[in-house]
């Protein structure tokens, strides 16, 4: 759809400046997919927070103010007199700053995990589908075996083996994602391979690389993107669950998962804001990702054209 839009505009208006085109298609997207646009807005806010955390957060997220602990929302700390918009946690760190920095952690962890996991998975899936035969058979058995591990347990085991650090959590999440991506992409690639144009490619003697890179890949990209958008949300949730089991992003790095699952559960009644704020952040992020993902799928999946 997006491509068609661009072509439409090009034909109608000559060649308008990029910005204008961008705004136009954005507006069209908003009009067509308001829910998706709302999701995109949430995502933009999250990425903005992640990117500008050091400038927009009011305090140092690591700075402990023991005597300002569990200050409520919109209150001043008893000791320092700092104004905490979203209150403080059990050792007096500013929750707003930690939430903003937490966006950085979440974006880093989930996006990196998705990029690594999806890329690896897609390559495996496509290559496996393209070559077929024994190669495919072996790869598929390995993928099946990986797929059979329970998701959370697999991540848990990997983190406990390699040790707890942010990059290791990313790697664990990525590895966990590979099998499902590889399977889906392989399925999609197989159906693309049946298409007449792939046959033509082979007949005219195009190189393997050319066939895969220029013909196979673009045609499964839609599937990959949709898949990635759905997995992105679950990556955030799995990270939070790992934190709940004590193996998430290590402290003192602010992470939504750790904020939601750590002490805040103990303070649920006496300082509910400690849990609500990171909980809301996770919800909003996952909500945004999923709504946007749905919209993208609706636009890109040819079968869904015309539906909302």
């Amino acid at each position: 759809m997006a491509q068609e839009q661009v072509i439409d505009t090009l034909q109608e208006r000559g060649n308008p400046p990029f910005l204008q085109r961008f705004i136009k298609s954005t507006l069209r997207f908003i009009k067509k997919k308001p829910v998706g646009a709302f999701g995109a807005l949430l995502m933009i806010i999250m990425i903005f927070c992640a990117g500008t955390a050091q400038w927009i957060s009011p305090y140092d997220p690591y700075q402990v103010h023991p005597r300002d602990r569990i200050t409520g929302t919109f209150e001043r700390g008893e000791d320092t007199g700092n104004y905490y918009i979203l209150g403080t946690d059990e050792i007096g760190r500013d929750l707003l700053s930690r939430t903003i920095y937490g966006a950085r952690t979440s974006v880093t962890v989930s996006f990196l995990a998705i990029i690594i996991g999806t890329t690896t998975g897609s390559v495996i899936g496509m290559v496996s589908a393209f070559f077929g035969g024994k190669f495919d058979l072996v790869i598929q058995r390995i993928i099946d075996a990986m797929f059979a591990f329970p998701l959370l347990i697999f991540a848990l085991a990997i983190v406990s083996v390699v040790g707890q650090s942010m990059m290791n959590v990313v790697m664990a999440l990525a590895i966990v994602l590979i099998p499902s991506v590889a399977r889906t992409v392989r399925g999609a690639a197989l159906s693309v391979m049946e298409m007449p144009y792939m046959e033509s490619c082979r007949t005219i003697g195009a190189s393997t690389f050319r066939t895969v890179a220029l013909h196979l890949m673009p045609n499964v990209t839609a599937v990959i993107i949709v898949l990635a958008s759905i997995q992105l949300g679950s990556a955030i949730i799995v990270e939070a669950s790992l934190s709940f089991l004590g193996l998430g992003t290590p402290p003192p790095t602010p992470s939504w998962g750790a904020m939601l699952s750590g002490s805040s559960r103990n303070f649920l009644e006496i300082a509910p804001h400690m849990a609500i704020i990171p909980g809301m952040a996770i919800s909003m992020a996952v909500l945004g990702i999923n709504l946007l993902g749905d919209a993208i799928r609706d636009l890109w999946d040819p079968r869904m054209r015309g539906s909302q």
Binding site: F147, A148, Q308
Partner: protein, 318 residues
């Protein structure tokens, strides 16, 4: 068809073997060991003492020997004894498996009922307020981690009514009421989250089906709306949903870990988590193996049943 099934069953064997090797490698790479945890409360111990315990547990043998023993044991369903309490691993797993199966199945029912009902409603009322509400709630459900939903289910009744859930689990045939008191909230905590994806899928396929010619024909015949939806649309829309739900049921088996811990349900997931923290490696191996085995089996059944449900599927290159 028969050759396909036979082929798939045969292919399961190398997959299971890979799983078994993977489990062994993963568990033996974990730092820490069961002996030091058992000795935690001892002020002092000697290296000889440590070695003798190690020998007693069979942990002094080379890894390759241990792996061979594990793989050989698997061929006749012997997974060794737990390093923690010396009971046969299989005995512990199979005594708990029914509990987890019950929980997973109940969660599955919760997620299917919620998912399909809301999915259908959202599809037939496409682009109305109702559609938006259900969709946002569905995604909202996806965005709440189950430990969080579980915590709220436990805490809210006590905060609001000073009422608490049953604390001790009972098998359903012993005390059905007590069993349900724990299982229903636990299944809800898992099911609500899982329902989101079912709902989204139902909605999508339903929308697809509703645009088909035979639906138009049905309308043209003058059938009532309700008839069209339930008789024609829903039936066709549910084929992909059912297959996804099959996979989901097996996924749920591994996804009960946290909820079993929260609600104190003595299931396989909790056993697995405990075994990991105690580094009871034989138990961990056995547990993951059983969960993975069931998963692989379920997937096979789903794939085969897919062929029965939808004759258009070709079995050439699967």
């Amino acid at each position: 068809m028969q050759t396909y099934i036979l082929r798939r069953v045969l292919l399961m064997i190398p997959t299971l073997m890979l799983v078994a090797i993977g489990i062994f490698v993963l568990t033996h790479l974990m730092p820490g060991d069961v002996i030091m945890i058992q000795l935690e409360g001892a002020a002092s111990f000697t290296p000889e003492q440590y070695e003798s315990i190690k020998k007693e547990l069979g942990m002094d043998k080379p890894y390759i020997y241990q792996m061979g023993k594990w793989l050989w044991g698997l061929t006749h369903l012997d997974m060794g004894n737990s390093l923690w309490n010396n009971k046969p691993v299989t005995e512990e797993i199979f005594s708990r498996l029914p509990t987890t199966l019950q929980l997973a199945f109940m969660a599955f029912i919760v997620s299917s009922v919620l998912g399909i009902v809301f999915g259908v409603v959202a599809a037939i009322r496409q682009d109305t307020m109702l559609d938006h509400v259900t969709r946002i709630f569905a995604v909202g459900g996806l965005s709440l981690p189950d430990f969080w939903v579980g915590t709220l289910i436990i805490l809210l009744p006590i905060i609001w009514f000073n009422w608490g859930f049953q604390t001790t689990y009972a098998d359903p045939w012993e005390d059905f009421g007590r069993n349900m008191q724990l299982m229903v909230p636990a299944a809800t905590a898992i099911g609500v989250r899982a329902s989101a994806s079912v709902m989204r899928l139902t909605r999508t396929t339903m929308l697809e089906v509703l645009r088909n010619d035979f639906i138009r024909t049905a309308h043209a015949k003058g059938l009532r709306e309700r008839m069209v939806i339930y008789r024609h649309a829903l039936r066709n829309a549910l084929i992909p949903v059912v297959t996804v739900m099959g996979t989901q049921l097996s996924r749920l088996l591994g996804g009960t870990v946290i909820v079993e811990m929260l609600f104190a349900i003595p299931g396989v997931g909790r056993l697995l988590l405990d075994s990991i923290t105690q580094r009871d490696l034989t138990q961990v191996q056995g547990n993951i193996m059983v969960i993975a085995g069931i998963f692989i089996m379920m997937n096979l059944i789903v794939d085969i049943s897919y062929g029965f449900l939808d004759p258009r599927i070709r079995y050439g290159r699967l």
